[in-house]
Symmetry: C2
Subunit: 205 residues, 2 copies
């Protein structure tokens, strides 16, 4: 495999290493199981499945019109595919380029009132708290359902990652909200001062 090869291909291989699946299945699995740190779109999944099949890393299982659905195209990983996956897993992951619209807004927000930014931060806090709840619930659920699965410790690690991250961000939100309310107070005071000054000036002129 070429070096510029995208991670998406291996994400699909990874899913197929668990069990054969269709493009639709893959999308569902990604959303439901690794959705908190990965995403795939149909627009990539279907072309990639074809590429992977051309490269011999997966094969199309024909004749599986089992439940009578419309032409379900199920793919399964091959031995070559498993090898490619293992190889990729051992390579150092590329560092992701983060893009946070929230931080971008915050960085430039001296153009607007602190309250507008505070609203964004409050929403972020709510979101992260919701995430924490989901992580904990999911962890309990999979521990109960797959207590002996060899992948379990690794799944829990990824959930733990999210929990740590979200907890830190909630703490940041609290700090930031405090700072923003201080800034608002200060601005209000300066406004009052400016008004008083203006009045005095008007009085003298």
């Amino acid at each position: 495999m070429k070096s510029g090869e995208s991670a998406s291909k291996f994400a699909l291989l990874g899913v197929l290493s668990l069990k054969p699946a269709s493009g639709y299945d893959i999308k569902q699995f990604v959303q439901g199981s690794i959705g908190h740190f990965w995403s795939e779109s149909y627009g990539r999944i279907y072309p990639l499945l074809k590429e992977l099949a051309d490269e011999g890393l997966i094969v199309q299982q024909r004749g599986t019109k089992a439940s009578g659905r419309s032409e379900r195209q199920v793919y399964a990983i091959t031995v070559a595919g498993e090898m490619a996956l293992r190889q990729w897993l051992e390579h150092s992951p590329r560092n992701e380029s983060p893009r946070s619209e929230l931080l971008l807004k915050l960085f430039f927000c001296d153009h607007v009132a602190p309250e507008a930014s505070a609203q964004h931060v409050r929403e972020k806090k709510q979101l992260e708290e919701k995430h924490i709840a989901i992580y904990e619930q999911t962890a309990r659920h999979i521990q109960q359902r797959y207590p002996a699965h060899p992948g379990l410790p690794y799944w829990l690690m990824t959930l733990n990652f999210g929990r740590h991250r979200s907890q830190a961000l909630v703490a940041w939100c609290d700090e930031t909200l405090a700072t923003l309310s201080q800034l608002e107070k200060k601005q209000a005071k300066e406004k009052t001062k400016a008004k008083t000054k203006a009045k005095t000036k008007r009085g003298t002129v």
Copy 2:
């Protein structure tokens, strides 16, 4: 502005709201100042500058001189541009879809030895520790250099975000490394057991 409008446009507007700049300047600024939570590529910057100019949100300062080929093309934000930026700043930021190659590898890593994953996690820890150092250094630097700038508190907030996040991830790395080394020990034990069994079997057969 349309609702599907990308954040990149406003990132450029934000940078130009600080001072007039060329495409090159913008790239430098983004890398140097908001690089820890945002990125822009030349491949987007130049087309977007033209679009923004067409929409009247920015204006080209230097003339479109024909003779000099690679002449510096400096853009400045217009009043309309400032209004558009303010409007955007007040809208709720869209939640970003995170993609972590590290977690993807970790999730599927029961295919390979725990040591391979441990290596990835150690590298991650090093990276985050480096980030923390940079955040703290940058914070000291800008507090010294722009003690009275109205944007300073907001810049510090974004750095603080990074610091919180990185500290949490370092803690996660430590936890995860501990878990991985336990898993490795367990696997080693099972292997030994398997070997002993095999020997016994061979002995009896």
